[in-house]
């Protein structure tokens, strides 16, 4: 049996990659994918703890997260499509109209 | 239907019917509107005579009562409560009598917005009737405030050059006093659990110090309306600016609402306080009599002269009321009627000459008796009535008031009556001054002035004679045979006097 620490380390690495993706990349789609990566990193951690602690709540949370992520993707992709229609770009640095 | 057919309800609200009819008439059909208003007011007068026929003077209680619960939520017991007794019947008749006369006087004087004018005038009649008939304090207060609105517009729309100023002053002044009265009314309503005047009078155990404050609150409202010196400052403005018919009603009826308020509310509701206040009221009344007379004499504007003479005359009324003996109070009530007739007629006559000359300045007149003999003779009779010549109405009132005041235990000092009797001399001074400067002496400049612009001064026409002759009839009737008038009120007055704790 693989000790739980391994899963946690993997999950942390995945999360760090996701964070870096969000912070570094300018393509909105990539950022999106990075966010998904982070979410799944969290899922991995949930599942790992769930099996270790013999509790189903972790798995229940994972389902929630998957559902929320799906919804988020739906809304997020729609926004991105709309933005692309008006700006002909999905570079997030060009989307600064909220600048104070 | 039963509700509407009660005589007093009908009397109060009948003019609304006329208003309703007028609303549906084209504003350009001035004559039809005038006739509708006149007929309505005459029918109202007819109803008042019907009420008189049913009235039993020997009964001191309220009669022809119409009484319904009205607002009874949250422990409030406000009623629709109309009733008439010897204290109010004459004033009701006076109101119904003067309204058609005033309407008739506007026949050619009011040419603009006749429709609005007549509507306001009839609404005013509703308000005045309500004031004299309401026996529930709350209902009374509503009518009391309601009269302000049409009068405000009558002055404000059809008045003279400073009409807006005068109308606002009139409104605010009266409101200021009424607010205090409203507080007192609310206190009474909460204290007694009812707003009905007879019930409150029967209850009658208000502590003396509270009585005093309530008395003062009511006095504030009524004294302004009367107006008692020194609260008279709104009167000359309102009278000078008001159209003739407005002045007639203002002097004839609206001022009486104040004095009536004293008789109806202040005396029976707060008897101890009233007795305590009597010397003070007498003092102010006496000052008012002399002050009004002297100030009148110095006026250059004839309407102002008559307005200040009202201050003097109503001083007599107040003196009589607070003499608190039958002579004083009965004289005062009769004097209210007399003042309504005489001063009303004076305003009518002044209005008639003003219509021709467009000036009220006394000094431009002179020698009018020669040019307009009928007008001059009528003016003479009315003037004499106003200055209290025996055989005419003014004397009967003034004499009984002074007699009552002289022997009054409540006032307790003959000095007030003696000083007030000096007012009789001064009345001769200012009335004769006016009569002389306008009607006697050499021809005034206005005569030629008018001639330049047309046919010159004319004497009264038939409509004008018809307008004043009814008043003249009462001037003589009350002067020569006042018995029926005293008979109407005597039992009620004596009953009222019996309730007062005179020392």
């Amino acid at each position: 049996m693989i000790p739980v620490e391994y899963y946690i380390i993997l999950s942390a690495i995945l999360f760090a990659i996701g964070v870096a993706g969000v912070l570094i990349r300018r393509n909105a789609l990539i950022i999106f994918m990075s966010i998904e990566l982070m979410l799944n990193a969290a899922n991995l951690a949930f599942v790992a703890f769930s099996s270790t602690l013999k509790s189903f709540s972790g798995q229940v949370f994972v389902f929630f997260v998957i559902a929320v992520a799906a919804a988020e993707v739906a809304v997020g992709l729609a926004l991105i499509v709309e933005i692309f229609k008006t700006k002909h770009s999905i570079d997030v640095d060009q989307m600064s109209s909220l600048k104070g | 239907m039963e509700f509407l057919l009660q005589p007093l309800t009908l009397l109060t609200f009948f003019p609304l019917l006329g208003v309703l009819v007028i609303l549906f008439i084209n504003a350009e059909a001035k004559n039809i509107i005038r006739w509708v208003a006149l007929v309505t007011s005459l029918l109202t007068f007819g109803i008042s005579l019907w009420v008189l026929a049913m009235f039993d003077a020997s009964n001191v209680n309220l009669q022809l009562v119409a009484r319904y619960d009205w607002i009874t939520i949250a422990g409030w017991n406000i009623q629709y409560f109309l009733g008439i007794d010897g204290l109010s019947i004459l004033l009701v008749l006076l109101t119904a009598f003067l309204t058609p006369i005033s309407i008739l006087s506007t026949w050619t004087a009011i040419e603009e917005r006749v429709k609005d004018f007549m509507i306001f005038f009839l609404l005013l009649e509703v308000g005045m009737m309500g004031v004299f008939l309401a026996q529930d304090l709350f209902l009374f207060y509503i009518f009391w405030e309601f009269t302000l609105v049409p009068m405000y517009f009558l002055i404000g729309i059809w008045g003279g050059p400073r009409r807006i100023y005068a109308a606002i002053k009139f409104f605010l002044y009266t409101m200021a006093g009424s607010i205090l009265m409203l507080l007192a009314i609310l206190w009474l309503g909460i204290y007694g659990g009812t707003f009905s005047v007879p019930d409150l009078v029967a209850l009658g155990n208000i502590p003396a110090n509270i009585q005093w404050w309530l008395f003062l609150a009511f006095t504030a409202a009524f004294a302004i309306k009367v107006p008692m010196w020194p609260l008279h400052s709104w009167l000359p403005d309102a009278h000078v600016e008001a159209p003739t018919a407005g002045s007639v009603i203002l002097a004839g009826v609206l001022l009486k609402m104040g004095t009536y308020g004293f008789v109806r509310f202040n005396l029976p509701l707060f008897p101890e306080a009233a007795v305590r206040a009597a010397p003070w009221i007498a003092l102010f009344a006496t000052i008012g009599i002399l002050y009004g007379a002297m100030v009148s004499y110095a006026q250059k504007d004839v309407k102002k002269l008559v307005a200040y003479s009202s201050v003097s005359h109503l001083g007599f009324v107040m003196l009589g009321l607070f003499a608190m003996n039958p002579q004083g109070i009965a004289g005062a009530i009769l004097q209210m009627i007399n003042h309504g007739l005489s001063t009303g007629a004076l305003f009518l006559l002044v209005g008639m000459i003003y219509e021709q000359t467009h000036t009220r300045e006394i000094k431009v007149y002179g020698g009018l008796w020669k040019i307009t003999p009928v007008f001059g003779s009528i003016m003479l009779i009315v003037s004499l009535s106003s200055m209290g010549l025996p055989g005419l109405n003014g004397f009967v009132g003034e004499f009984t008031i002074l007699l009552g005041a002289f022997g009054s235990q409540a006032i307790g000092n003959t000095a007030y009556a003696i000083a007030s009797a000096l007012g009789v001399i001064m009345a001769a001074v200012y009335i004769l001054y006016m009569f002389q400067k306008m009607f006697l002496g050499p021809q005034g400049e206005i005569v030629d002035e008018v001639k330049k612009h047309g046919h010159g001064l004319r004497d009264l026409n038939w409509r004008e004679i018809v307008t004043v002759v009814p008043i003249l009839i009462f001037i003589f009737w009350i002067g020569l045979y006042p018995k029926p008038f005293f008979a109407l009120m005597a039992p009620a007055v004596e009953h009222l006097v019996g309730m007062l704790p005179i020392p």
Binding site: S96, G100 | K169, M294, V295, P390, F406, Y433, L440, G441
Partner: protein
């Protein structure tokens, strides 16, 4: 004195017609008079007044038949309220019928005279339309006077009292648009107003007396008052009687309220004769006589009344000496004679007072009416003279009428005695009538005035020596000024063209005068001071209870006659021997100096009243009206203080300070503060998603770091 309430016998039921006959007369003239000719109008009015006289006679007859027992005829319930029960009832007793007879008798004669007089007067004054009005007023006067004398209570007396005051006002101001010379002016209407207001001052006294009376006796009715009078404190009676004296002073022209009567001569002459000599002005004397039972209770009040009368008698007589207007002389003479009457009734000599009242009514009416005849004569003469001139003019160049009129309105005063002289020849009838009146007034045997004046003097001598002295001097002056007047008017040479052309009056004017002259001659027979006579005294005794019937006292009569004759002689020395020339000033002017100036100017009493009462009253009125009421109370207090305070509160205090500089300013500060804060903060918002994400990361790191460190 008890009397029967119901009237069964005699003509007493006719009593209301005393008043209603003239009222009907005036109503007919008001309503239909426009269509009648002058004669018809005058006849109706005279008949109305005559009917009143007939009723008076019938009442007197019934009274005499009933042995003088007073009768009350109830008529109308007037004011009934509380304890006040006031009725209009007619009281027929010997005193009231005496007055009724005098009033309606003299009144009717004057009505007849006025038909002739006013016919001419309205034409000289240029307004014939007023003929009718005159008779309406005259009838109204008779009615009011009848109410006065026939009233059963003090209040009904007061009704008539004020009523005659009104008529006096209307008739003095009859020519209200001109002065006595017919020029447009305020003079006549001022005189009328003065009379009314002065009378009102007197009425004030009467009213106060009535109030005291009511609360002391609970009645105004004569008998009830007299009955109760004995039971109250004398102080009350003194107050009543003295306040009543104020009323008497007003109506009967006594000091200090006599000033209206001379001015009242602005009225047409019949008015002066009827109202201001014979009847109305004697109402005060009647009132005191009526109240005899009150006055006799309080000698101190009686003394004051007597002295008032006596001083007035002398004072007015001195003024009469200095007057030039024929009617003014008679006016002051009237005041003086009224002083005699008031003094008499004040002394308790009620019969003497009433006797003098009656004879005075005869001879003073005669004098006034004759003076009217003289004035008319002069007017006619003036008219003629003008016509003569006019004719001369039109012969030369056809002069226009209007021009001529203007000349003629200039200065001529037909009442000025300096314009007269020598009228004895041109107006003989009037002259003889005037002589009779003069001798009666001067108190020469056997004219009526002698008997009545003598009775007063005799009473005064017995009870009040001071009054006797004053009255005797007054009597001397009386004879003197009448002598002066007769010499100036009727003797000597005419001093003006008008006097030279004067014409005698028509019979309708002179006929009533003859009746009055006969009465002046024989009036003394009413109450001759001999045993078995004293008719008037006996007649009045029914009403006045105790009447002192004094026999003739030769000493008093002799002294007074000698004084009068001496005065007439003196006046002849001054005015008769060397008649006045045109333009010459009065021969007394130089020797008497300032005394005569005083008499001429009525001792400056009018001026004094102006200075002390009228002008201060006016000033106070203007001060109150303009300064106190308007500028202080209306403008300053209401506009500045109340409205101003309100405006200040709403505009400055609340709007500017509390609202704009307080609440508003705070709200605005809140806004600007937020703005500047956000201006700094907005720099954080660079719009890059990555920087936001970084800040989220930093936040997470911080929170985690905190959790770990903790």
């Amino acid at each position: 004195m008890h009397f029967s309430e119901t009237v069964n016998t005699g003509f007493f039921f006719l009593a209301p017609w005393l008043v209603f006959a003239p009222v009907i007369g005036l109503l007919i003239n008001i309503i239909f008079g426009g269509r009648f000719s002058e004669k018809v109008i005058g006849t109706i009015a005279s008949l109305a007044s005559g009917a009143s006289f007939v009723v008076s006679v019938l009442l007197a007859w019934s009274l005499a038949a009933g042995h003088g027992e007073a009768v009350t005829v109830p008529f109308l319930e007037w004011i009934h309220i509380g304890s006040l029960e006031l009725d209009w009832a007619f009281r027929v007793d010997s005193l009231s019928t005496t007055m009724m007879l005098v009033v309606s008798g003299v009144g009717t004669l004057i009505h007849i005279y006025a038909i002739g007089y006013m016919h001419e007067d309205v034409r000289f004054k240029g307004d014939p339309g007023r003929f009718r009005r005159f008779f309406v007023f005259l009838n109204l006067f008779i009615a009011m006077m009848m109410i006065l004398v026939s009233g059963d209570s003090y209040l009904m007396l007061f009704v008539g009292w004020e009523g005659v005051g009104l008529c006096s006002f209307l008739l003095i101001g009859f020519w209200y648009d001109m002065d006595t010379l017919g020029r447009p002016s305020w003079a006549n209407s001022n005189a009328a107003k003065k009379a009314f207001v002065t009378n009102r001052v007197g009425d004030f006294g009467f009213l106060i007396a009535a109030f005291i009376m009511f609360w002391a006796f609970r009645s105004f009715q004569f008998d009830e008052v007299f009955e109760a009078a004995h039971a109250v404190a004398p102080g009350v009676i003194v107050a009543i009687t003295l306040f009543m004296l104020v009323g008497v002073a007003g109506k009967s022209a006594q000091i200090p309220l006599y000033v209206w009567l001379p001015d009242a001569m602005a009225g047409p002459t019949p008015v002066s004769a009827l109202i201001h000599a014979a009847t109305m002005v004697t109402a005060g004397v009647y009132l005191i006589t009526r109240s005899a039972e009150l006055y006799t209770l309080v000698p101190q009040a009686q003394y004051i009344v007597a002295m008032t009368g006596a001083i007035t008698a002398l004072f007015a007589a001195t003024i009469a000496v200095g007057q030039y207007d024929i009617k003014k002389v008679l006016a002051y003479s009237t005041i003086s004679q009224l002083g005699f009457m008031v003094a008499a009734v004040g002394m308790g000599a009620f019969v003497a007072g009433m006797f003098h009242l009656v004879t005075h009514a005869f001879f003073k009416a005669l004098l006034f009416l004759s003076a009217g005849s003289v004035i008319l004569g002069l007017e006619r003469g003036h008219h003629h003279a003008e016509h003569a001139h006019h004719d001369d003019h039109s012969k030369g160049k056809k002069g226009k009428k209007t021009e001529h009129r203007e000349e003629h309105h200039e200065v001529f005063d037909p009442g000025d005695m300096r314009n007269m002289g020598g009228l004895r020849k041109t107006m003989p009838v009037t002259f003889w009538l005037y002589m009779i009146g003069t001798l009666a007034l001067a108190g020469i045997v056997p004219f009526a005035g002698f008997w009545s004046k003598d009775e007063i003097l005799l009473d005064a001598k017995l009870h009040y020596p001071a009054v006797y002295v004053l009255l005797s001097i007054a009597a001397f002056f009386t004879a003197f000024y009448m002598g002066r007047q007769v010499w100036m008017v009727f003797f000597g040479e005419p001093r003006h063209e008008a006097a030279a052309h004067a014409e005698e009056s028509k019979p309708i004017i002179t006929a009533p005068l003859m009746v009055l002259a006969a009465l002046s001659l024989l009036g003394g027979a009413l109450n001759l001071p001999f045993e078995g006579f004293h008719q008037l005294g006996h007649w009045l005794e029914y009403t006045l209870r105790e009447v002192e019937a004094l026999p003739l006292n030769l000493q008093v009569a002799g002294i007074s006659t000698l004084l009068a004759l001496f005065a007439i002689f003196l006046s002849w020395l001054i005015y008769g021997r060397n008649p006045l020339k045109a333009g010459q000033s009065d021969p007394l002017k130089k020797p008497l100096g300032f005394l005569f100036t005083g008499m001429e100017n009525k001792w400056f009493v009018d001026e004094g009243y102006y200075a002390v009462i009228i002008n201060p009253f006016k000033k106070l009125s203007y001060f109150l009206a303009d300064v106190v009421d308007w500028r202080f109370w209306h403008d300053w207090f209401h506009e500045t203080v109340i409205a101003g305070t309100y405006n200040w509160l709403s505009n400055t205090a609340l709007n500017l300070y509390a609202d704009q500089k307080g609440i508003d300013a705070f709200a605005n500060w809140l806004g600007t503060a937020t703005q500047s804060l956000s201006a700094t903060l907005r720099k954080v918002q660079n719009g890059f998603v990555r920087s936001y994400a970084l800040s989220v990361l930093l936040g997470v790191v911080l929170i985690l770091g905190y959790l770990i460190v903790k």
